[in-house]
Symmetry: C5
Subunit: 361 residues, 5 copies
Amino acid sequence: MRKIPVLKRKKSPGRTGKIGLPPGSLFHTGEQKVETVRLTEFRYDEDNVIEESPDPHTGSLPVPRKKDVTWLNLDGLHDIPVIERIGHAYGLHPLLLEDVLSTGGRPKFEEYDDHLFIVLKMISFNDESRRIDAEQLSIVLGDSLVLSFQERVGDVLDWVRDRIRTGRGHVRKERADYLAYALIDAVVDSYFAVLEKLGEKIDELEEELIDDPDESTLHRIHELKREMIDLRRSIWPLRELVNSLIKSVSPLISQSTRIYLRDVYDHTIQIIDTIESYRDMVSGMLDIYLSTVSNRMNSVMKVLTIIATLFIPLTFFAGVYGMNFRYMPELELRWAYPAFWVLSIVVFVVMLIFFRRKKWL
Amino acid sequence: MRKIPVLKRKKSPGRTGKIGLPPGSLFHTGEQKVETVRLTEFRYDEDNVIEESPDPHTGSLPVPRKKDVTWLNLDGLHDIPVIERIGHAYGLHPLLLEDVLSTGGRPKFEEYDDHLFIVLKMISFNDESRRIDAEQLSIVLGDSLVLSFQERVGDVLDWVRDRIRTGRGHVRKERADYLAYALIDAVVDSYFAVLEKLGEKIDELEEELIDDPDESTLHRIHELKREMIDLRRSIWPLRELVNSLIKSVSPLISQSTRIYLRDVYDHTIQIIDTIESYRDMVSGMLDIYLSTVSNRMNSVMKVLTIIATLFIPLTFFAGVYGMNFRYMPELELRWAYPAFWVLSIVVFVVMLIFFRRKKWL
Amino acid sequence: MRKIPVLKRKKSPGRTGKIGLPPGSLFHTGEQKVETVRLTEFRYDEDNVIEESPDPHTGSLPVPRKKDVTWLNLDGLHDIPVIERIGHAYGLHPLLLEDVLSTGGRPKFEEYDDHLFIVLKMISFNDESRRIDAEQLSIVLGDSLVLSFQERVGDVLDWVRDRIRTGRGHVRKERADYLAYALIDAVVDSYFAVLEKLGEKIDELEEELIDDPDESTLHRIHELKREMIDLRRSIWPLRELVNSLIKSVSPLISQSTRIYLRDVYDHTIQIIDTIESYRDMVSGMLDIYLSTVSNRMNSVMKVLTIIATLFIPLTFFAGVYGMNFRYMPELELRWAYPAFWVLSIVVFVVMLIFFRRKKWL
Amino acid sequence: MRKIPVLKRKKSPGRTGKIGLPPGSLFHTGEQKVETVRLTEFRYDEDNVIEESPDPHTGSLPVPRKKDVTWLNLDGLHDIPVIERIGHAYGLHPLLLEDVLSTGGRPKFEEYDDHLFIVLKMISFNDESRRIDAEQLSIVLGDSLVLSFQERVGDVLDWVRDRIRTGRGHVRKERADYLAYALIDAVVDSYFAVLEKLGEKIDELEEELIDDPDESTLHRIHELKREMIDLRRSIWPLRELVNSLIKSVSPLISQSTRIYLRDVYDHTIQIIDTIESYRDMVSGMLDIYLSTVSNRMNSVMKVLTIIATLFIPLTFFAGVYGMNFRYMPELELRWAYPAFWVLSIVVFVVMLIFFRRKKWL
Amino acid sequence: MRKIPVLKRKKSPGRTGKIGLPPGSLFHTGEQKVETVRLTEFRYDEDNVIEESPDPHTGSLPVPRKKDVTWLNLDGLHDIPVIERIGHAYGLHPLLLEDVLSTGGRPKFEEYDDHLFIVLKMISFNDESRRIDAEQLSIVLGDSLVLSFQERVGDVLDWVRDRIRTGRGHVRKERADYLAYALIDAVVDSYFAVLEKLGEKIDELEEELIDDPDESTLHRIHELKREMIDLRRSIWPLRELVNSLIKSVSPLISQSTRIYLRDVYDHTIQIIDTIESYRDMVSGMLDIYLSTVSNRMNSVMKVLTIIATLFIPLTFFAGVYGMNFRYMPELELRWAYPAFWVLSIVVFVVMLIFFRRKKWL
């Protein structure tokens, strides 16, 4: 029998450790995912691109300039002084920094006076644990400046970096808002990859369901259901977020970038649609599982009933002729014993025919 | 036993291959459905109609003129240079072209500066696979110009072509917006045809349900349920789309065409209504299936219980008189054996009456 | 056993035959319900009333006059030329006429330039088939003019005709909008009559459910459920329709008539409320049915278990003393056989007491 | 066994008798609940209060005066001429009077030119029938005037009368709108009393559910569920009604009374909340009932299986040594019979241990 | 067997005792939770803080001053004169005081002319009863003044007091609105702590569900479900409340405090999200429980069927050779008895193989 997977509750959003701290206190609520934090800086315009890695504690932080776009990315969130330093350098509100550090939060979009703040969840399918990993990406979009904060090195954003380095695509020709869009687009694309994996899981489960479902199938169905619910919980606010970005009156987002964001918006709807159909499929699988179990029960019952029905009457007759009454004329008859067998076989066959008629066989 | 249909997950929307490409990159995400792409051009006013098939790569693309209506239709989406050529000729946004190629998208309506963009799903019932086939139709409505893009030759639009060629109906008397309406109307009509087929499927299933339901019936019910869900997913955005068209302030759509679109809108509501009743019917069928299965179980149990109840006591009595005690006065009695039979039959009959009273027989 | 009613799918809205026809083509999609169409004309003011039946094809159609109210009613929709003639005479849009003929549509309200168009469903309970019959009533409200189109002679509107003829009630004192209101009110009243009948059906089913439910009860419950769903589908748009009428800015509806329409609106809400409670009752009946079936199964199981539990041990003991071992001291004892019976009866009684304790008896 | 309560359908709203009557016709649709109608009149200001009972048919009806507040209450609705007389005296619209008489209606609020019209349901728990009784209260709020119509004498409004008579509370210091508020408040309070009783019913049912649930428990749960649904149906429109009153721009309601109405509004939300939790509890009870029934079935099955499993193999062995083969060496052995018993007991005990391991005992 | 927890209905909101009292009457509807009421007063600005405990009946109540912030807190609500005294001193509306005393109410926010009124529920997990305790906190926010009313001493607000005393955090630098925010924030944090405990309960239940579920598991699941529903009922209005505070145009709340409130708002959404996932998990647990119970039934049935199927045919054969027919040739054969055993064992083994194939073993 397959092992029954224990349903794992995701730890509740890690506010507990923070209770009692004054609001705006910086406190990293997630688990530390990298050894040391790392800063990377891109500075580009259509013709040039500079890539640097200033020291997070002592290196000079880039000053945004009108004429090009500056992208400063931080990997790792456990080093509070670095966060505070960045916050101070670019004039970020303490609550914004708090949100950057609270990796248990949900996607959101907030407008501050001279920058926009976006929190996203990048997801990826962990092939080992066969579960979905989520990582928080916070983006601050200022004038000619993008700050991004992520929990660990290595992410779905590498494609954006490649395009900046090589100059492929539009990104080098556009301003900071397009870069922010490109990051969001990359995150949304990560959902498609995970959906693909979930789709494969569903296919596997369906085959298992037809072949040989057992109790572990039920647990797996529920696990899948829960993953879908989790996914849905992070994609819905993502959709709202993109919508708010499109509708935002902020001058930081140009009209042409809004058209691209509309495209991202369509993708989020498409993801929601796919999740909804997966959910329906999983519900259907639950029905089929339950019905399969009950059909098996049925077939067990039928075997029992057939055996009992075939033999119980015959056993009675055998019992009758095993009685020790002195006066039982049949016992003396020569052909009585063969007749008993003939009778037994006739009854047996008649019953088999009856069962076939009833569609039990 | 009927074959159990395996529930087929529809491939998730084909964004996977595109992940990492810069947005606006043209990439056909569907499967190629025709050998070579084909362009057809209609140019008509009330009195004249010209029909041509320019070469997709080299033929001259028609320039729209105020005095007549130009309809350019492309069959087949895999030939990117052709798409790019058309996009360039008529000033279409790269994201619009991307949507034309992403056949996994959902129906939508977008307004661009000097044209409207509409994505629809034409559906048809494939009699062989007994499934619903969907094909994407993208329409660009400009001033005196309609561009349409479809995945393969042969479609529900032939009636519109016929009416243009023969001059039947209003289409030749009206402008490009009426042509766009006629195309949408034809697509919406295709849903009625599919609903008709689904209705027949439901009728078949209901008869099967009364006659002789088995495990495959359950799978078929679920398959039907899923088809209905898919259909509903494409008709709801279609309804919104038509509504947006009616409410759009674009000068490209005349007041009189809006009245016709209102009619299409009513049809989409009617389709939704029909799908909802079908869904209710299918849910009811599920209840009936489950109840039938449990009733069968019941009848199996009854047979078992009747047999056991009739014979077990009699077998006990037979066993008693098969005992070898030296002092069993009954064994010596002359009438004991016939009395045993009489008693057995009386008990048997009394029990039969009891069961009939209990409505088990 | 009662006959199982087959769930009848209502034919899908009859657009299929129309697919490919240009929009606005006149085509009667329902079944023909009368032999020949019939026109009736009322022309009344507070003092006088004229009733006539002009020939549908050749008779002169009344011209509406400011000083009185003209009501032209058509019974039967299959005679297209008559429809076209009326449409032409009163300047009706082709799509309006199409809606008059599409009897599969849903209730709706549309404003045209100089008239309002209302589509309603009159329902009645057919005592023979024990089902709900629906008939479409289309009303065109112009200035001093009401046109009405129905599928067959004989309807819920006779009360309105009576009041016009006899001058009872307000109708003769008011304008055309009040007449339209009176027609709508009569249609809404027809729902109350049908609800009454459905209520009786529910009462019958509940008694059946307590007395002796079988598989046909389940089918009947589902049939009732579906009728309720159908009813709900036609009453909801009716409610919206009346609401739109009240809120309409059209000068064709006077302020005082709006107060009456508000009353009709309340009635539609009351009907919806009643249908909702019926639905809840029917759901409860389903639960009770399923629970009754499972309780029966339970009682069957109990009988089986009691019989088996009472006799199987005794049969074992009888079997033991039927063994042929040479050395079985009990067999020789004089009181062994009576002791066997005493023991059997004691075990039997003890078990009976045990079962009574367990509440199985 | 407890008696199974038959689910009683409430008679459908009594419009049936009215079908065909012209709208605005006065017709009492409820059952007559008092012998004769009775009029009571209060006329008060801060210092004085006059209480009178004018004859309904001939007594002079009070004329409202600016300087004090007049409250005219009618008990009993079956006497149409009295209703008409009041309607005429205070200029009430015929549809308003129709609503007063249609006791099957739902709570509503309507604004007329110079008065407001409110329909409420007072409820009380009938200790005898253990059901909820509802009575309709209609309130007309004019300038310095409150008219109220109820179905029978004796009601939840006595507290308001007491406060007017004794001058306790604010009511004597305030205007007619405060009196209307006090009446509504008293009606809303009647819901709390009924909720308390329903709560007790739930407690009883829960104990029954733990102790000894049977089929009547299920029926009782469904009855409770239905009562809750009925209650919910009358409290929701009540909430809307109070909300409309608060938001109404009518000068008949002063700003200070609106603050009190906001308080009533909070109470309606609290009632809805309580009903919702009761509904959840009742749903949970249904789950527990079904699970209890299935657990009982389980325990019956276990007993059957244990008995069968313990004795069937032993019976087989007894049967073997009851065979009459000539050459059965065991039969001759001295210790064979005791060995048989030892073996039987060992098998028996081993199986008992096995069952205990499986947690069946 | 674990004890079955009886589902405890929370007493319905304690309005019953109040029915008939004039509105605005002060009456404490909760249970008294402290011996004597206690007043504590904080008066602080950035540099100084004064903490006092004036006698509730005779001590002088602080007069709010522009230059600092006054916070007056009352522990215990049963002493009506004290409440009235405070109400009188700060000009509070009688209905506001009534709400302070009605501890059964739901979270709400109301704007009065010169103060804002907020009702909250503080919750905490009672480790002894393993249930959630709720306590009502009412806050009145005036200009430079915060009044707070709670049911008992000792609460989640101590952190706020500490911060005022020590000057940590922002609170001393800000005005009264920030203090009100800090109180709300502390209350919202209390939900996170309770969620953590509920999460642990869920983990325990899940282990129990895998190991050894019994009827008490079902009851526990339902209890958990109900706690979640209760929690949800108090967090939803809390969210609305915070939202209304943010959107309120009252000058009592500064722009900078609104940014902090937006943060609280995010936390309430996060709590709702967590509760929703917990609810989904608990629903899944219910499914798994029911499926486990039915699987056990299945395995019981299988054992029964296997035993019966293995032995019933063999018992029949043993019965046959126990018959006393005179002419049974087999009985005389030397090898008949061993052959019987061989046959029995072969049948036995064949059946075991058959069962293994069927996956019953």
